[in-house]
Structures are given as structure tokens and as C-alpha cells.
């Protein structure tokens, strides 16, 4: 119990490891919060979609600051500036300044304004965090360790994004379940976690993380090279497999290259190939692809249903609704059925990583379905005047 409590305390304190000496607990008002984001958001219209998933996610973050109503699909809408902040300046794709809404429904935010720089490269954001030029920026999970080593204060959420290997249906080679099982068994998840993610992630065996479902421990994450070789030996014709990954995602590229190495070690012929983000839709030229699936909810049923709805049409897996409410047994059984089909091979769970300046307080790493809690953030040392300044 004590060990678990210690781990729990350590986990929630992770983000605050380098916070300076603390002098308060109640939020202070005032100050300008400086934020940098990678995507260049061109429009704040909630209905505006982009081919770039990062831009869509960033726009949702901004919308959550401006609108008070959240739709069932997770997007935000409502009267302009009905949320905790109002737009003061807007330069599409480059810069935005938001000011605190004095009449916000949940109360006025603690900071006076937020200055957002868009279209920033990951290395530039990391540098600005090191130099104290920004208060908040996203950090790719594979760079989290490096950021910590460079003295950046890092906030890490619970792992809530699944990186999985998905076998699209309709490909002659991978319609043979033995091929799928062989490749899934060949993957060394531990090395992905240890070397690519620098231990900032968890090996995944099921479709939900342990902290959500409570049953992830029932799924094996160990590689089984012998089983992979045995299955592959049964396949005639020595087929050559193509593994697709998002061309704009360095993490997916690294993982794909690692899987290629694992596959070759077991005799499986596999080649990694980037999938362009933009351009005309073409028939899938890959036998398997890497996919990121972010949990929309911490609740296991909702998260699993979302995943199945996404994966179902692609991999032709059972996406029929689970009972509502669903028991842990129901959820486990469905997960097991999907994993046992080898249409989806869960690889790793990824946390959301943010870099923070030392003056940021009340930052809580957003959980699944949550947005940045910038209305609750306050800044150390930027408080409103507190009256007389002299001390005894």
C-alpha cells in the first residue's frame, strides 16, 4: 500500500519536479501566459476540418478556450467568446492573443491573457522552454527524456494514446491470420519503450491501458520470436510485406523501422513505407500500418467503442456496440476477441508531454477527452498587487 501510494504521489508530482520553492496554494490573478504550439491553425471555426490531425487537435484546444459548449463529438461551439477567454488578436497560422473573459461562466480565468505562437517547430519550442521564452509547449514523447536532461520542467499525462499495428482487410497476404500473428509475435515492444520512447510509455497488449480497464495485465506484451518463426515457416511463397506509417510523424517512422528490424530477425520480409498525408486517396499499398488512437474518454467502454468505430471499417473487426453499461467482463471479452484476431496488434501506450516554465501553477496534465486547463492555470510572481509592499 505504501509503495503504491508512493508511486501515486510520484506520478502526480512528476510535473512539479523542478518547481521552485512554493509559497502559496490559492490561485493568484494576473500575468500573461505564453504558449507555443506546433500546428499553424488557420481558422478557429469549430466546423473547419483539416487534413492535418495535429491542426485539428490544436484548433480544438483553442476552441475550448473560446466557446462554452461542448458537442457530443468533443468539438466546441457556441457564441463567440462565451468561453473563459476572448480573442484580442488573431493572425491565422501565426499568432493569437486571448484575454480573460470577466463574465466567463465558470469564473474569470486567473491569467489576464494568453499569447499563442503557432507553427513552431518542436526543437524551437524546446529551446524556448529552456530559455524561459515560453510558459507552455507540447513536447513529442520521444523527446521527453532529452527535455528533462536539459532542465525543462516536464508534465506527463497518464498514457492515453495507443500506437497500434493495424492490418487492413482485403489484402491477400495478410488475410492469412498466420501472417498477422507472426508479425505481431515478432515485435519487441520493450525495446520500443526503452529505446525509442526512452521509457516514457508502456508496452501495450490490449486495447485499453491498465489504469482504465484494470484488465490490461491479462494481455501479454512479450515478443515471441520462436512462435513468429514457426508461423512464418508455414507461409508459402515468402511474401514481402509493406508497413505504412504517417510521413509527418517521426515517432511512427522510428517505430516502423524498429519493427522492420524485429521482423527480419525472425525471417519475415517487411519494408517500411511512408504514407503521404496530403494528396489523392489511393488504394492502400501497404499490408499493415501504424495508427495512433487517442482515448476520447477515461471510461473503458467509451474509449473502446471509439477505437472499434475507427478500426472497424479498416480492419473489418467487430465494432458492434457493447452493452451499456458494460461490465469489465464484457470489455475484456471484446478486447480479447479483437486482439486474438490479430487484425490489430497493440504496441505501446503514449502519454501526452508538455513542457512548462517554472512559474506555471495549477497545471494538470489533461486526461482523455480533456483540453488544456488554461483557465485554471495561474502564474507565480505575476499576481495582482497585494497592497502595501513593506515588510516588518
Amino acid at each position: 500500500m505504501k509503495l503504491r501510494l508512493c508511486l501515486f504521489l510520484a506520478a502526480i508530482s512528476l510535473a512539479l519536479a523542478t518547481v521552485p520553492a512554493e509559497t502559496a496554494r490559492r490561485p493568484r490573478y494576473g500575468g500573461v501566459l505564453r504558449v507555443e504550439i506546433g500546428p499553424a491553425v488557420s481558422s478557429l471555426e469549430p466546423t473547419t476540418g483539416s487534413a492535418n490531425p495535429e491542426e485539428n487537435a490544436a484548433r480544438e484546444q483553442l476552441d475550448s478556450l473560446l466557446f462554452d459548449h461542448r458537442n457530443p463529438d468533443g468539438t466546441f461551439s457556441g457564441v463567440a467568446s462565451s468561453g473563459p477567454f476572448q480573442i484580442a488578436e488573431w493572425e491565422p497560422g501565426k499568432h493569437a492573443t486571448l484575454t480573460a473573459n470577466e463574465n466567463a461562466l465558470g469564473g474569470r480565468p486567473f491569467v489576464d491573457s494568453i499569447q499563442i505562437q503557432m507553427g513552431r517547430a518542436a526543437r524551437d519550442m524546446l529551446l524556448d522552454l529552456e530559455l524561459g521564452k515560453t510558459d507552455l509547449a507540447e513536447i513529442p514523447v520521444e523527446q521527453a527524456r532529452r527535455a528533462v536532461d536539459r532542465g525543462v520542467r516536464v508534465s506527463m499525462s497518464q498514457p492515453d494514446e495507443l500506437l497500434a499495428l493495424v492490418f487492413p482487410a482485403g489484402r491477400a497476404i495478410t488475410d492469412d491470420a498466420r501472417v498477422r500473428e507472426a508479425l505481431a509475435a515478432a515485435i519487441d515492444r520493450a525495446s520500443i519503450v526503452n529505446f525509442i520512447l526512452q521509457k516514457n510509455g508502456e508496452a501495450a497488449g490490449g486495447l485499453l491501458p491498465q489504469w482504465s480497464s484494470g484488465t490490461a495485465f491479462l494481455f501479454s506484451t512479450a515478443a515471441d520470436a520462436a512462435r513468429a518463426k514457426e508461423l512464418w515457416a508455414q507461409i508459402t511463397g515468402s511474401p514481402k510485406l509493406v508497413l505504412g506509417y504517417d510521413s509527418g510523424d517521426p515517432l511512427e517512422q522510428s517505430v516502423a523501422e524498429r519493427i522492420v528490424v524485429n521482423a527480419r530477425e525472425t525471417g519475415i520480409s517487411l519494408m517500411a513505407q511512408a504514407i503521404p498525408r496530403a494528396g489523392p486517396a489511393t488504394p492502400a499499398a501497404f499490408d499493415a500500418r501504424l495508427m495512433r488512437l487517442r482515448m476520447p474518454s477515461p471510461l473503458p467502454r467509451a474509449a473502446l467503442m471509439n477505437f472499434l468505430e475507427t478500426l472497424g471499417p479498416l480492419a473489418k473487426i467487430d465494432a458492434s456496440p457493447l452493452p451499456d453499461p458494460a461490465s469489465p467482463q464484457d470489455i475484456y471479452d471484446r478486447e480479447r476477441a479483437v486482439v486474438s484476431s490479430y487484425r490489430v496488434a497493440p504496441l505501446v501506450w503514449l502519454p501526452q508531454v508538455h513542457g512548462l516554465s517554472v512559474r506555471v501553477r495549477n497545471w494538470k496534465a489533461p486526461g482523455p477527452g480533456e483540453t488544456w486547463p488554461l483557465a485554471d492555470v495561474w502564474l507565480e510572481g505575476a499576481a495582482e498587487t497585494s497592497g502595501e509592499k513593506e515588510k516588518p
Partner: protein
Amino acid sequence: MRPSRQLLLSHCAIVVLLLAVFSGATLAQDSSHTNQPAQPEQAAPLAQAQLPAKWNDAVRALAEKIAGATGSPRRISLDVRNISSLDSSATSLIRQAIQSELAANGFKSGAGGLRVRVTLSEGTDGYIWVAEIEQGDAVQVAAVSLSRSTNSDTSLHAAPVLQKRTVWEQADPFLDFLERQMMTIPISVFTVLERDRVAMYEGSTGHWGHFSGGGFISISPGSRDIRGRLTAPINGKIKMFVATTMCANPPFLYCVDSPGQEWPVGDGWESHYAPGRNYFTGLSAKWVTIDGGVRPFFTLSRMEYDHGSDWIQTELDGMARLYSFSTKPRAAFSGWGDDLASVKPGCGGSWHVLVTGTGDWTQVDYIQLYEINNERPMPIGQRLEFSGPILSMWTSDDKKSARVVSKNLQTGMYEASIVSVSCSD
């Protein structure tokens, strides 16, 4: 200079006039899923019967599933492991309970039998107990779930010791609470003040269940760290302060909102709530003159002596300052949180100050007891740890304890606790 007192209603607009004690059905229905009295869940030793009832139900359900999976009673080899936040004593009890339940179903335990591994796990929805039943090469999985609840958290330390008694928990945030015995009828009422409503429950400590009334409070948009306080009933009437709104009840809930709303911050002392903020400005006191204006503050704690009163207030610059009828502080203390409460335990006779810890709402918190000695704070005893931030702390009316509202970061529940100073050695 004595700050001028405003007449309570002179600048007030009556913003809400709601019937207070509307029949409990509507609110009770809303509350039933989120509010519950905190009940000790810490298992007592050695017998299944001493497990909480719902744990027994879960044990029974899991044993039935194991029995169903195995088909007929036989010898089994049971292994129980815990990967949840349950402690070892609870794990041991659950193991014994499962063994007992399986025995009652005709199973005998022993080496070489059918291997059954039970894992005590947990997820978002609560505890999940999973049985893996090995039958040859196949493994059958059976799972049961049960919700988490607060464990008994009364704790004792070396003298003088802080004691915490958790009396309530609910999923929604609340600002203050009050336990009181009704004067005219033999029942107790537990009042919970939330940001926009007040709810009252009948029952007794640990068993507040029956919703008996309440009402909604309409407040102006204000702070995200809104402050609220309930005052002891005078002639059966409770006053409720939420930011710049003051409400009273019974016979019906009526509220007035005023930008300069005065709050009680000590016996006969009042201060103005800063509109749209989370702190107070100014100080007025009956019968005495406070020289000059005081700094804005979050919390003020007053200590009465024969020769007069001292007070400590936590200020916006993160310092706590000690005053004696002057706006010139006598001493300043650093490293304190923003909430404090003065208490006078019955045994010692001197005033002590309960002080919360530093940090923010994402961190665990604590209360440290201090005695102010020659203008220096002397920590006494050990800290009383909390599983999350303390959101408010007010001195109780008996001056011997404090009402504490905190958030449990493990369960996500908001908890009401009475913290008192024990005088036993």
C-alpha cells in the same frame, strides 16, 4: 482607522428569491448518484463477515464465476495477488473471504489442484477483481467490479495530535459544510454549500442519506476559486456566503448580492469579499478600532486573549502576517499555505493555528499545527496528511476544530473533514 461598515441591504440587490425547502425529490434524485456519506471501508481482521457488504457481494460473485467456470467442485490451488491500491491487510481479508466462499461451494484448496489466480486490480470505474482459471492450456477469465470508496481515515499521531474525521464525500465540488442538531426535533442535519446551491441531508454522522431540502443560489460570474462559508445557526437560521452573495435559510432561502458583501472573519469581525476574486479586502471590527487599512488577504485567523486579540492573515504575496490591532504587522511567516484556522483545544488553554501546506491544486496537502510563541511560529507534532489539495478551512464554532474541504486526488472525490486537536498524550 475603523473602516466604515456598510449597511447590509443599503446597496444590495435582491437577486434570488427561491423557496428553500422544496420537496427533496428533484434534488434528491440528482444527488443520489453523486453524493454519499463517507463510510469506513477499511476492513477489520479475520472474517469475511467483517468485510464491507459490497466487498462480500463481490467475493461471492467471483466465487460463483469460478465455480461456474470449473463445472464441478474440485481441488483448487488459489493464488491471490494485488496490483491495486488496496493494502496488504485488505488483500489478506479478501483472500480469506474467497477461500471461504469457494469452500462453501464445495471446493477444497491445496497444491496440485486446478490453478486459479485472482488479481485484485483497479481501473477508472473502481476495483476489478479478476480470476484466471487454468484448465489445461486454456485460461478462462472471470471478472467482477466494485466501486471505490473512502477508507476510514481517522489517524492518531504523537501528542498533541491532529485528528481527521471524514464526514462526507461527493463527486461535485463544494465550498463548506455544517453538521448541526436541530433544536426542535431530534434529528441532525448536514448542510453542504456548493457554488450555486445548498443541500441539506438528515441523518447522523456517517449516515447522511435523506435529502431534506435546499435551494439554488444565483451568483454573478466571478472567480474560478470562489469562496464560500456557512455560519453557525442563530435562532435556527443559517447564513451562507458565496463570493459577494449572502443567503439565509430558513424559513426560505433568500439571497442578496452586493459588490461590497461583508463576510464574518472572526467573532464580530467582518471583511469585504473582492468581487470576481478569491480574497478579502478591508477589515471592520465591533468595539475596537483597527488603525489604518489592512492588506488584502485570503484567510484571517483570530486569537482572543484577556488583554486583547491577535490575528494572522495570509496575504496575496504568499506571506502570513501577525497583527495586533494595527495594520503594521508584528511578524511575517513564510512557507505557509493560504488557509489557516485558529483553534483552542480544551486541554491546553492556549491558541493554536492550523496551517495548510504550499503548492497548488494538483498536489497533495497537509495541515501543520503551530503555536505562536514570542511572535515565532512553533510547529507542534506531525503534519496531518491529505490525499489532495485542501480547498477551504474554517474554524468551527466551538473553536476546538476546523471544517476542512479537500479533494482526494486518488478517488477524485471532494471530502469534508473535521480536524481537531487531541489532547491525549
